[in-house]
């Protein structure tokens, strides 16, 4: 009798997830389902709160990239106040954001995915983690810890705290950057840069070692979305949201943030707390698109910093103008980390970076505001409506991992088709199904504004709906 497989905990990801794999009569994969299993309700319980509390509250959606929520939130608040923030404040916010890209990408690459890449997808699961990495590849483990620390310390020097700082406020930031703090951050830059250079070099040398993974880890045509500047240059703090198709042809540019809902629709999934956004002009589910490092690099014409530009060129020479396999999220992530460090250097050299004009002040001048930025995992949208007293009457949050929900589902199915065979789950197959989820670096706490423990539960189901195998196996 044909079965369903369940991966109960998708491990080494940021959140709770479970996967069901349904088999057909021939014992081949018929369908898969990706369930995100936590829900928190931020959109509802923030009703009635003053808008200026939103940055601090929504930062608690995610402690991995709290700066992303802080920034999307303060940008929505800037719009409610109808102010243009002083230029030094915009530079400082971007600097903070770059530091966060570096730390978050370090976590994703080194702490979560390097165990698969360096120890092997089929290596001993008990050691296939950061501890095993410290034992077998101490240099890589130390590099990962040092790079994450560089980003976190830069955030701390600017904003006072590494996690959930209260420095970014509606209208700007609440304290200028001291020359001393600037110099401290600058001192750490060369080491951070050399770590990323070395990691990129090693990663490129390994590219040929994963033919099956790069062929089947979500290797499919989709649209892509990301922010970019006037000349198409890569942007993470500001810029227009652009959609392109799988041949790099432009599909749409969201010129005003408020227009996002003309282009992005959301579908509820019956079996997941994670909704599935889609590109409205193409409908559901044809409007599948990907965001995050892979999507952003596909959208960008160029990076805009010298070394990252060179890397982007090489990336495209190796893989094509549009890179289609989600396995290469890792590669794109490293190029972005390099951009982050280079861009930090540029921003820190701006004379205005220590200027004291850092905050615009105003009351409620508009009854709604939208903030859009690129979180490390992709486009993040905060949309608030307020009454004349500034109390929230309605809020909508669309987060990075949500945009990738349809693509994640497709990718899981593709990996399962490739690696799951018959009614028995093998550990290496379970890990690959989990690993494709990890490639997207999904932040499920963000995505459902929820967060959970270690995750994939895998279940294998027969066409008749009987459970034939599951992972973990019942004791």
């Amino acid at each position: 009798m044909p079965p369903t497989i369940t991966i109960n905990h998708v491990t080494r990801i940021e959140g709770h997830a479970r996967i069901d794999i349904h088999l057909n009569d021939l014992g081949k994969v018929a369908s898969t389902q990706f369930h995100v299993t936590q829900f928190r309700g931020f959109e509802k319980f923030t009703e009635g709160r003053p808008y200026y509390e939103m940055p601090a509250i929504t930062a608690r959606i995610c402690g991995i990239c709290p700066v992303s929520h802080l920034l999307a939130s303060v940008k929505a608040c800037d719009a409610i106040m109808a102010v243009q923030i002083p230029e030094p404040a915009a530079l400082l916010r971007e600097l903070l954001h770059c530091a966060q890209f570096v730390q978050s990408h370090a976590l994703s690459f080194f702490h979560l995915s390097a165990p698969d890449l360096l120890l092997g997808f089929d290596s001993d699961p008990a050691l296939r983690n950061i501890v095993g990495l410290i034992e077998k590849h101490p240099e890589a483990a130390r590099d990962g810890i040092a790079l994450r620390k560089f980003g976190q310390q830069a955030i701390e020097r600017m904003a006072g705290e590494r996690i959930h700082p209260s420095w970014t406020v509606p209208g700007g930031v609440n304290k200028p950057l001291s020359a001393d703090a600037r110099d401290h951050i600058l001192t750490g830059l060369p080491i951070a840069k050399s770590i990323i250079r070395r990691t990129l070099k090693n990663f490129k040398a390994m590219l040929d070692d994963f033919p099956a993974e790069s062929a089947a880890f979500g290797n499919m045509p989709t649209a892509y979305a990301g922010l970019s500047g006037l000349d198409g240059e890569f942007k993470i703090y500001d810029g227009a949201l652009r959609f392109i198709d799988n041949t790099a042809k432009p599909l749409a540019t969201v010129a005003r943030p408020l227009d996002y809902s003309k282009y992005i629709g959301e579908a509820t999934m019956p079996d997941s707390y994670l909704k599935a956004p889609y590109f409205k002009p193409l409908g559901y589910p044809e409007g599948i698109y990907r965001v995050g490092p892979l999507g952003r690099l596909n959208v960008a014409a160029r990076m805009g910093t010298p070394e990252a530009d060179g890397e982007l060129e090489e990336y495209r020479q190796r893989l094509g103008r549009i890179v289609q396999s989600s396995f290469f999220y890792h590669y794109a992530r490293l190029i972005e980390a390099l951009y982050g460090v280079e861009r930090m250097e540029e921003l820190l050299s701006e004379p205005l970076i220590t200027d004291t004009h850092i905050r615009a002040d105003a009351g409620v001048n508009a009854n709604q505001g939208v903030g859009i930025i690129e979180a490390p995992r992709g486009v993040l949208i905060h949309h608030y409506k307020v009454d004349d007293n500034g109390s929230i009457t309605w809020a909508n949050l669309i987060v990075a991992t949500g945009h990738n929900n349809l693509a994640l589902n497709h990718s899981i199915r593709q990996v399962a088709e490739q690696f799951v065979d018959g009614a028995q789950l093998k550990e290496g197959a379970v890990n690959r199904v989990s690993a494709v989820v990890r490639a997207y670096d999904p932040c499920l706490s963000c995505s459902t504004h929820a967060y959970g423990g270690p995750a994939v539960n895998l279940r294998l189901w027969s066409p008749q709906g009987e459970l034939v195998d599951s992972w973990p196996r019942p004791e």
């Binding site: 369930h35 983690n129 501890v131 959301e266 019956p270 959970g452 423990g453 270690p454």
Partner: protein, 181 residues
């Protein structure tokens, strides 16, 4: 020397407390020399194992899944630590408690969707009526407050525990770090 068995778990939190554990930076390497991480978001274990020495719990207890897991963890853990304000007081997750769960779900999945407007129900755990602190469900041996707790406080607690001592939070080196928020 037998390594201590340490587990970490995320319930309804934002992962910031876990990130604060990583923010002990190089101390992490010392800790990992003395302890095996047997369960948690950084490792591949699928089931919460038996005989765990210390479990760090982040987040409030918010769903049926959290509720079952925390009871299993309590049975299998010697020292249960509530890590951070969500686990200690309910913090931000408990802001939903004044609103019926049905309304929360409707807002997100009916009003907040263009297609398939209905609350998910297959394969997802039901929400508890209230998100509550860990000690409301099981006994907690040590509370480390903070949103998130400061890395120095976490480093102190872990170092003491791995030396076989119960951390004394009145110790002057950390007393100033024991606070909410």
């Amino acid at each position: 020397m037998n390594k201590a068995k340490v587990a970490t778990v995320w319930l309804d939190g934002c992962s910031g407390c876990h990130m604060s554990v990583l923010d002990i930076d190089e101390v992490l390497i010392d800790v990992l020399h003395k302890a095996d991480i047997v369960y948690g978001p950084l490792v591949d274990a699928q089931e919460f194992p038996e005989g765990v020495d210390v479990t760090l719990t982040e987040g409030a207890v918010s769903s049926q899944h959290d509720y079952k897991l925390i009871q299993q963890i309590r049975k299998r853990t010697k020292l249960l630590i509530a890590l951070g304000d969500c686990a200690v007081t309910g913090n931000v997750p408990s802001m939903r408690n004044t609103i019926p769960t049905k309304r929360l779900l409707e807002r997100a999945y009916v009003e907040g969707a263009d297609i398939h407007q209905r609350a998910p129900s297959d394969g997802v755990p039901a929400l508890l009526r209230h998100a509550v602190p860990v000690q409301e469900i099981v006994k907690v041996d040590l509370h480390l407050p903070g949103c998130p707790p400061k890395p120095a406080l976490i480093a102190f607690a872990l170092t003491e525990l791995l030396a076989g001592r119960k951390p004394d939070l009145t110790n002057p080196s950390v007393a100033g770090l024991v606070k909410f928020g």
